[in-house]
Symmetry: C2
Subunit: 233 residues, 2 copies
Amino acid sequence: MTEQKANDNYNDITITTASDQVFVDMRREIVQGTIEQGSKISEPELAKRYGVSRATLREALNRLESCYLVERKANVGCRVVALTAERLIEVYQVRSALEGLACRLAADNMEPQEVQGLKQLLNQHLQTQRVKEGESYYQEAGDLDFHYRIIKGSKNAHLIHLLCNELYQLIRMYRVQMGMAGPRVSKAFDEHLAIINAIENHDGELAEMLMKRHISASQANIQTKFDLHAAKK
Amino acid sequence: MTEQKANDNYNDITITTASDQVFVDMRREIVQGTIEQGSKISEPELAKRYGVSRATLREALNRLESCYLVERKANVGCRVVALTAERLIEVYQVRSALEGLACRLAADNMEPQEVQGLKQLLNQHLQTQRVKEGESYYQEAGDLDFHYRIIKGSKNAHLIHLLCNELYQLIRMYRVQMGMAGPRVSKAFDEHLAIINAIENHDGELAEMLMKRHISASQANIQTKFDLHAAKK
DNA sequence: TGAATTTAGATTGTCGACAATTAATAACGT
DNA sequence: ACGTTATTAATTGTCGACAATCTAAATTCA
């Protein structure tokens, strides 16, 4: 298991209430595997652990359900989602379609300065990547930043919410728990570059195609880790 | 405003708890406009009206938020979503991508008998449509059935949930409140037929393209009503 | 002994009341 | 008279307790 630290709050939530805090905390623990996948969630137990009432905890559980990290059955309770190969495929099919759309829209809607910022970001990643070889956290964070910026560049609020707030935590959960390091780093960099170019040229169709392909490759990569992980047991 | 009756529970929810009931009831009222768009939701007031406690009502509100029918701000409260032209475009862009994907998957994964059932359904719609001219409810229900079956034919559980449980109620809200009748009936029928044929031939690419186009046309149709509606005021 | 039923325990769903925050009204000063 | 600051009222967030339901252990019967 790769070490993960701080700054898991990628989507910009402002924490005001107690349930906000519990939601963010639990989300991190689930994504990182501290609360392990497939495990049953006891409301009284966790409420005590976080020092809040059950009502507050249930509020957080509802939010976690909205981003697919827990599943609920009436009168039975919550369970942390189980990471299966089937679900990975399903989620990535959806992700591919949505992020492809985001990329196509971004080609039309991103401001020139946003595109420049994206380029700079990529250069930074190239450098830090050379320095911190094999440190998977920076890679994950960097890749995430890249995708987030493009998604937000689509300027479609509904799409942004769907991807950044709802779907991405589940995707992160797969990536973190499968352990994303491996030899795909340089390839991913080239793919990112090609996508930026397409966006800069306002070639939406190409940008969409490249992004879909990029995500498919990413899926294949995780799939490999998954099978490896399954074979070990 | 077109008259809407019974059977609004298109997605198969089994109602076990009290909050389930309130959720379904409120959802219907919001979609139909009984609780009007953009209006503030008073928790004490509605709790009294449905004869439940605030905790139960809040549970329902959380679920309504998950399917984009209400929006929440911390320490301020809930508001029914406002139907704007911008949001319509955003939602339909997402819908187009997702249902296009569903259609492509359906071309691979639907059983022959499911395809047959779809054909029969379309024939029924053709007949009932001739009889009940201008009755928009049957049209809406029919169209919905058609789309639902294809979505479920994708066999992608995540995609099915995303479309049927989360997104579709909002789409229905637009359709119902804008008043879907109009001359697009026969055209839509032809488009449906072409989609079925593509699915039957296992031509996923074509099926996806046709579905996307079909949805774009549907969007344009609603857009027109929307502008008309806005001009009236 | 094994399967079905009953019973006991624990968990979730629901309620009413209190605390914290916001929105609306009134008071105040310039 | 107008803008600003207090004060009040209402609303949301949170809590602890009770009721309904499920799970699992114990009992009964074949």
